[in-house]
């Protein structure tokens, strides 16, 4: 694909026609960009993993890395031999005018379909989860188009990128 239009307009000047012809030449960008973007998406944020980090995100990425290491310390490395039982957790969102709410987060690999909430008569949406002790980032997707953080939990530290997310601590 070299242009979004099949027949782009031509300048009425020979010099500019030569300029445009040069600028329309295809330029290749490698799949490493896609892979890095996917890594950022899977991590639930835009933190770069390229050799040259995004400058303006450097501070946020550093904070996110600290938060991530804290998460891993709790979630991935429980004491050897310790039995870690899942705990019941109830998430709620007041959204009386909405027709569908799902929760998307670390606990369901950021799936937008895996964990729907059910409506209650009070205009509240609710879901019960079983989560092991740890900290989880998550957000709500309302009517398939609007991200909403959980007002009942603190915001994630790198909330200036991607959707607004909250952090749930299960102890």
């Amino acid at each position: 694909m070299t242009s979004f239009r099949p027949d782009p307009p031509e300048p009425d000047d020979e010099t500019l026609r030569r300029v445009v012809a040069e600028l329309r030449r295809p330029v290749l960008f490698g799949p490493a960009i896609d892979a890095d973007a996917l890594r950022a998406i899977r991590a639930g944020r835009g933190g770069p993993s390229r050799s040259r980090p995004l400058r303006w995100l450097a501070a946020a990425a550093a904070a996110a890395a600290l938060a991530a290491s804290a998460l891993l310390a709790v979630r991935s490395h429980p004491p050897p031999g310790a039995a870690v039982e899942a705990r019941p957790v109830v998430l709620r969102l007041v959204a009386p005018a909405s027709s569908a709410v799902v929760v998307v987060g670390d606990f369901n690999d950021w799936s937008t379909v895996a964990t729907p909430l059910r409506p209650t008569a009070a205009g509240e949406w609710i879901v019960r989860l079983e989560l092991r002790p740890g900290r989880y980032r998550y957000t709500f997707l309302v009517d398939g188009r609007e991200w909403k953080s959980d007002p009942a939990e603190p915001p994630a530290p790198d909330n200036d990128y991607g959707p607004p997310t909250s952090v749930l601590t299960v102890s």
Binding site: F4, R5, P8, E10, E22, L23, I33, R50
Partner: protein, 177 residues
């Protein structure tokens, strides 16, 4: 048969990241070309592109016409390029031309045609360069550019004209040699 954008968007929204990878691969080079010409170097272009992809993923549910995903994604990358340009230090903008071109630039004869074009593009004001690229390289109509940039069509026509005049002037010596 190649899967259409709308189908890939639907699969992405259902949690299939491979589908989003397909969308990125489809538009990567076309969008990268715009970012490269707009920003003037590959590193910044890759940054804008990657950033645009991630933002597009998180905002995908708001793409109201998935069949026109490419145009929607283009708008995001155009905005990311603007952000990259805004972040540049004042020193980076020191060589920009004023609105009215006072004198012909000193054009080196040692650089190739492509390098000369890159140098000339870099000397245009960003909104002139943006309008020129969208109009002549990406082939957009004025109405579409207006929707994408938020500027009035008359202003865009003026920007394209000034960009054209300045490019022609900057490249005059190169063409005549």
């Amino acid at each position: 048969m190649t899967e259409g954008d709308a189908a890939l968007v639907a699969r992405t929204l259902a949690g299939d990241l491979d589908a989003f990878a397909g969308l990125m691969a489809r538009y990567r080079s076309a969008l990268g070309r715009y970012a490269l010409h707009m920003l003037g170097n590959r590193e910044d272009a890759e940054e804008a592109l990657q950033d645009g992809f991630v933002r597009a993923y998180w905002a995908l549910a708001t793409c109201r016409d998935p069949q026109r995903f490419g145009a929607w994604l283009f708008r995001i990358v155009v905005n990311r390029c603007r952000t990259v340009l805004r972040r540049r230090r004042p020193d980076d903008r020191a060589t920009l031309l004023p609105d009215e071109l006072p004198t012909r630039g000193d054009v080196s004869e040692t650089l190739g045609w492509r390098e000369e074009i890159g140098r000339a593009l870099a000397r245009l004001r960003p909104h002139y360069r943006e309008a020129f690229l969208l109009r002549y390289v990406e082939g957009m109509g004025y109405e579409e550019i207006s929707r994408l940039t938020g500027a009035k069509q008359a202003a865009i026509r003026m920007r394209v004209k000034r960009a054209s005049d300045q490019l022609r002037e900057l490249l005059r010596d190169v063409v005549s040699t």
